[in-house]
Symmetry: none
Subunit: 420 residues, 2 copies
């Protein structure tokens, strides 16, 4: 990729320089640029000072073909990116009517007063190509200047990502001759990175040089990313499909999907296909399981609801857990988790019920049930599957891992259900 | 802060440029530097190429008094930081006996063979002050060069952090007369950045030059950061406290906390202080409200549980919403949200009940109830407060915003409850 298009990513904002917010934008941007064959040669963060911004723009001009700038586009006094771009390009601020219409609409829709500060967000440097931001009031801007492309985007990650994905990346692909790069993502759950690596080692070693493999581990799952570089899209697609076919037999039970699939979207698909309804009973995950399930658009077709039973009263009254069970075995036990999963099926009248109960931490551990001791269960009409997790000491991590393991247990259970 | 010591933080490594790993080092370093009054004026990432590294070193020399470099100190061929520093300082690599002793010891301890590559890690540029790394085999190095301080550290976060905390920061404090810098964060919710800015404009304009204000917006909230620079910590603390006192009356209803507070931790504190218990009834947020509440350690002391009522059956059977209400007004209506909030209080037997019901999108909108139409409610013993939100068309954003607005409504309601 040495003779590929060079990019420089510039972040503007004192809060990043002073370390007060985590900059997740630059990593995301350079990953996306890499994916379309544009190589990031420098990342820089500067503060909200005109001189500093002008300096980095002049430097970047020497180094890069594409300069992506994020931040400093808010409506307030400390946001000076637009003024500074005007100085750099020696142009004036001009009110953009399309932008103004959108800002106005944005406020009308929310029934809120619009201030001059808000109207000011429709003022753009005269040479800017306005890149419509449908997700906020700050504009996206594209500049062609002395053989370079400058892009200025809001720093709010949500708005920046939508603008990049829907407006900037397509325009960059159209503007530059970049090599064809194709990705195929194989999504696995329930197996650790090193075990996965051992199991597919022979296959990995036999990969051709123009197809690279990356392990992308995340909470409770590992994504395998295949990256193929070449000239012909169709050829690359075929080669990637072949490689997937070759590796699949080795890891079949752990593969839950591909590319943009998620555990929760695959579960939705499986439930819909079998016309099954789902309910969850959560203790230690406190609603995180349900919120992942309902993050899928249309989930209301199969997800009926959840009972989050943080107190034992709720476990007894809403889920029908027997007081003597809690008495004898405690809330974190196989007996209780079984009754929770089966109970929520009954209470909410669904086909499938899943449940969590455990000690998320940091407190509440005992010698025989230390922090990280967590039971999960999946109840379907003909049987209930339970599993004991022994996790670590960090609350957030335990909640996220438990949720992923439970969703995977649900996927396994209803898949077998289909196949059997 | 213009006359404070200026620092530049430089990260070396292709994996960071291409977005393959998250760089957590630079944020940590600049936070630590800020805390000892050294101001980061630039952050840069460059790849593992000699030319790129030499260029950033020359640039940094112009801009900064202190240049902190991380990465590229591993034993393998692609780690070229030390060689490049030799070129930059025009010195030779010299084997450092203290470093060699430590590397040897490191391997003996672990009963592992030491290779020439490992021994090579004890070779330092001739002008380096060796900063002992007790946590790995890569050296820490300090250079005094043409009136600047250069520090080179391994990129492995825990080795870098130990070296910074135990060796570099103390030496920096001893080497420079640094001003005192203090931060105060005011956390607001339920008011947009531009409205906030207008409301506190007079106060903001009257701030003394050594106290700077920044707006840090996030989903549903804006954090106001005050940064004071001076000589006397006690004086700055007093001045910051005064400024907070001055601005508070203008935004009192929107301020939920300071510094490291979160909306959910503040709510937990308010509930505990009044010995109140909480339950949630969620439709469109699908458990996200409960999962934010239960992200707080110890939340089981006041949070009893939740009923996530995605289907109308659950709304009727578990929350006691009247079928005729759903019939007449629909699930997304003030009548229904009121019955949901009051219903969950009854069902779970808590003092406070909060609820959400709306159209999160992307589908399900109607002309009179478009996507983004969301009702929230908070029921306490003596009254129920409802509020209508008109949000955008993006599911994730709607869920997150609704959750923040509801938590803030809860905070307002139980705060009034206290004060009244």
């Amino acid at each position: 990729m040495t003779n590929s298009i060079r990019a420089e990513v510039v972040t503007i904002g004192d809060e990043i320089l002073f370390g007060q917010i985590t900059d997740t934008n630059t990593q995301w941007i350079s990953t996306e640029l890499t994916n379309i064959g544009i190589r990031t040669v420098r990342k820089s963060s500067v503060g909200d000072q005109t001189e500093a911004i002008l300096q980095i723009l002049h430097e970047a001009h020497q180094r890069a073909d594409v300069i992506i700038i994020t931040g400093g586009l808010g409506p307030t006094k400390d946001d000076i990116t637009k003024k500074t771009l005007c100085t750099y390009f020696s142009v004036e601020l001009v009110r953009n009517q399309t932008a103004l219409a959108l800002v106005t609409q944005f406020f009308e829709k929310r029934g809120r007063e619009m201030t001059d500060l808000n109207r000011g967000q429709a003022d753009l440097p005269a040479n800017a190509v306005y890149m419509q931001n449908d997700w906020g009031t700050a504009p996206g801007m594209w500049f062609d200047y002395e053989g370079r492309v400058y892009v200025s985007l809001p720093g709010v990650p949500f708005e920046m990502k939508h603008l990049m994905a829907n407006r900037i990346l397509p325009k960059l692909r159209a503007s530059f001759e970049t090599p064809v790069i194709k990705h195929k993502m194989i999504l696995t759950a329930g197996i650790g990175e090193s075990f996965l690596a051992e199991r597919i080692e022979t296959w990995e070693d036999a990969l051709p040089p123009h197809i690279r493999l990356a392990y992308l581990p995340s909470f409770g799952g590992v994504r395998l990313r295949l990256t193929a570089t070449g000239q012909d899209e169709a050829v690359l697609d075929r080669e990637l499909a072949e490689q997937v076919e070759n590796v699949l037999p080795l890891i079949e039970k752990n593969v839950y999907g591909y590319d943009d699939d998620t555990l929760e979207s695959v579960i939705g698909y499986l439930l819909l296909r079998q016309n099954l309804t789902l309910a969850t009973a959560e203790s230690c995950t406190g609603g995180f399981v349900a919120s992942r399930i309902t993050s899928v658009p249309g989930s209301s077709a199969y997800f009926w609801g959840s009972i989050i039973a943080y107190s034992n009263d709720v476990k007894v009254n809403q889920l029908g857990v027997k007081p003597e069970t809690l008495e004898q075995f405690g809330a974190v036990s196989e007996e209780t988790i079984r009754q929770m999963a089966e109970g929520v099926r009954k209470t909410l009248g669904t086909d499938v019920g899943i449940a969590t109960s455990g000690i998320a931490g940091p407190d509440g551990g005992t010698p025989d049930k230390p922090v990280g001791t967590i039971w999960i269960a999946c109840a379907i009409p003909d049987r209930t599957v339970t599993r004991l997790l022994k996790l670590g000491q960090y609350r957030d991590q335990n909640i996220q891992l438990t949720t992923t393991y439970l969703l995977n247990l649900l996927r396994e259970t209803i898949s077998e259900n289909v196949n059997g």
